[in-house]
Symmetry: C2
Subunit: 360 residues, 2 copies
């Protein structure tokens, strides 16, 4: 089989050794003669790997002990409801910083439960798309929390700074969690759908500061209720055991790679290579200011959009999959999460240069 | 590897050919060079198998066209909230028929959203545990719907009849869906967590009559909102793609076995064999009346409970896994869903007879 590089924005590629192990033991896990999918979530064997997955995640992110880690279902979309349901408490308002499609989607869901105070934080800088620095965000002390999305997959925009505020900071890290070290203690809640940097779709992780566990609205469904999930060890409902197991393998793989500092270097190096290839050419362009360029999702346009279809067709033939950009932005998008090897980006850059040479 | 039979109540065993296929193509699905877990849920390839899975399920259950099929997350527990949130409408009350642990758990969640009118439908018949016939259930026309759980996994109790009523009938079929043909047109909503007769944990299926789609409470989280899920083809949030794919393989397998009539015969034959072994011995007993004995979950007790640990230990050594009964009932429980081959029940019966011979 030819080497294939999968640039899907999500569900995205998983580390090859993780899939290889999952395949190897798919019908006989731990010598039990059954699949990990077929055992009780409350049995000794599964509880063991569930606990290890949580501990490995805690180690990777250096999660303080006063934060609970919840393994949830429903993806980040479910958290769009869970956050206001769990955190508004006696308040009715929360600050929502709107930097793109996903931040805005969280606003729409929050409207069901309170008054999101929405601030557009997009701006133009040096003729490029950028984000207002977090130090300039205007927050309201009447808000129950401030919500933002530090990486917008569609726009290829990343926010790497944090506001200084007494409000609990809530971040949808679906598309950049585990891509570099962060200071968890500065957040109230971090959540992420698994299908980019954690594991397969169908799992979401919420990291919740313990003082925020117990202010949920009485109508919060139990499966979204942070305190219930914590008290039941994320097993109030039968968890997505295979996704949990596979995420645990990803966490092990991340530790073996050297943890998040190593990932940061890996991701910076990949992103630099690709942005450099774009910037050094008039044939390709990226419209995001370097301050806010995403290291996970790199959208780029061809100067001549009539070549888009041919580019995608030839890229596909060369083993580079899922490069089509989101329709809102057009052109191409290369998602280069943790699991994308540098060789994948090198192959893409070589392909782009050859395509420019023959069609430029 | 010795032959292993896994009697887990759920997550439960999957058909061997399904797991074998999943293993075979885990790293190279459809020759794409990627896993099915790594492709976009909105891409052509996944959309194709998602649609086929729905159609195969429709074929198997003969689902009328005025019923929508939703692929959800959060398991049956999420549906415990979704049902009142979506169906109460202008009413505040619903009938809940309480026949065991799971029916009762649905009541507890419904209390968040309205007034469940709870009726205990358990009874004693001929000195055995039984359920009041559905024809005698007292329902209230002020209720928005009537909810019941037709198979209680812990108690090993199954309800095979339905009330005659104008209320929408809502059934939690998590543990007996697809075990035999049913008349879907008699229900308002059927839902089921996947991890027993459908596929791996992390997926739930809801079959919703279309006139019930549009009466949701304004605070219904979008991920639980039937109309939203229907309008977005169950892809409002990124669906659990691997679980959906694997469920599709299970549906194909069920069709290849001859569909639900064949399954009914298969399940009746397995259950008869096991109950007969229990009834023909004073060493084992089952306390459920034959009217309501579950064909999916067969709890049984040893006359001498001091032998329980030895029974489990020797069963385990003989390759019969996960036979320990729920702590609420004690003793043993053999869950024999669709995927359990008759050979598994024959092996269990042979083991039980040998154990009785040596310890009776």
């Amino acid at each position: 089989m030819e080497q294939v590089f999968n640039f899907s924005a999500g569900p995205a590629m998983l580390p090859e050794p993780v899939l290889a192990q999952a395949k190897d033991e798919l019908q006989n896990w731990r010598g039990l003669g059954t699949s990990v999918m077929e055992v009780s979530h409350r049995g000794k064997d599964f509880m063991e790997i569930a606990a290890k997955a949580e501990q490995d995640l805690r180690d990777l992110l250096a999660i303080p002990t006063n934060y609970k880690v919840l393994f949830c279902q429903g993806g980040a979309r479910a958290q769009f409801a869970a956050v206001p349901l769990n955190l508004l408490g006696q308040k009715t308002q929360a600050d929502y910083m709107d930097g793109g499609f996903w931040a805005h989607s969280a606003v729409e869901e929050a409207l069901k439960y309170g008054q999101p105070r929405v601030t557009d934080i997009t701006c133009e800088r040096d003729g490029k798309r950028a984000i207002v620095p977090a130090s300039q965000w205007q927050l309201d002390s009447n808000s129950a929390y401030v919500h933002f999305c530090p990486n917008e997959t569609i726009d290829g925009i990343e926010i790497r700074d944090l506001p200084t505020t007494d409000l609990p900071i809530v971040a949808d890290m679906s598309s950049n969690i585990l891509s570099r070290p962060i200071d968890v203690s500065r957040y109230g809640v971090i959540y992420a759908g698994a299908q980019k940097n954690i594991g397969p779709a169908g799992l979401a992780i919420a990291i919740v500061r313990d003082d925020l566990l117990d202010r949920a609205h009485t109508m919060t469904p139990s499966v979204l209720h942070y305190k219930t999930l914590f008290e039941k060890e994320s097993m109030f409902n039968t968890p997505p055991t295979f996704a949990w197991y596979l995420s645990g393998l990803v966490f092990e793989w991340l530790k073996a790679q050297g943890g998040l500092s190593a990932m940061q270097a890996h991701n910076e190096s990949k992103a630099a290579l690709l942005y450099q290839a774009i910037d050094s050419s008039d044939f390709y362009r990226n419209q995001v200011h370097s301050d806010n360029r995403s290291q996970m999702n790199v959208p780029f346009q061809l100067a001549d959009a009539k070549l888009d279809a041919l580019f995608l067709e030839q890229a596909e033939a060369a083993g580079m999959r899922a490069l089509k950009g989101h329709r809102a932005v057009g052109g191409m998008r290369a998602s280069i999460y943790n699991a994308m090897p540098k060789a994948g980006v090198e192959a893409l850059v070589a392909f782009m240069q050859e395509f420019e040479r023959t069609h430029g």
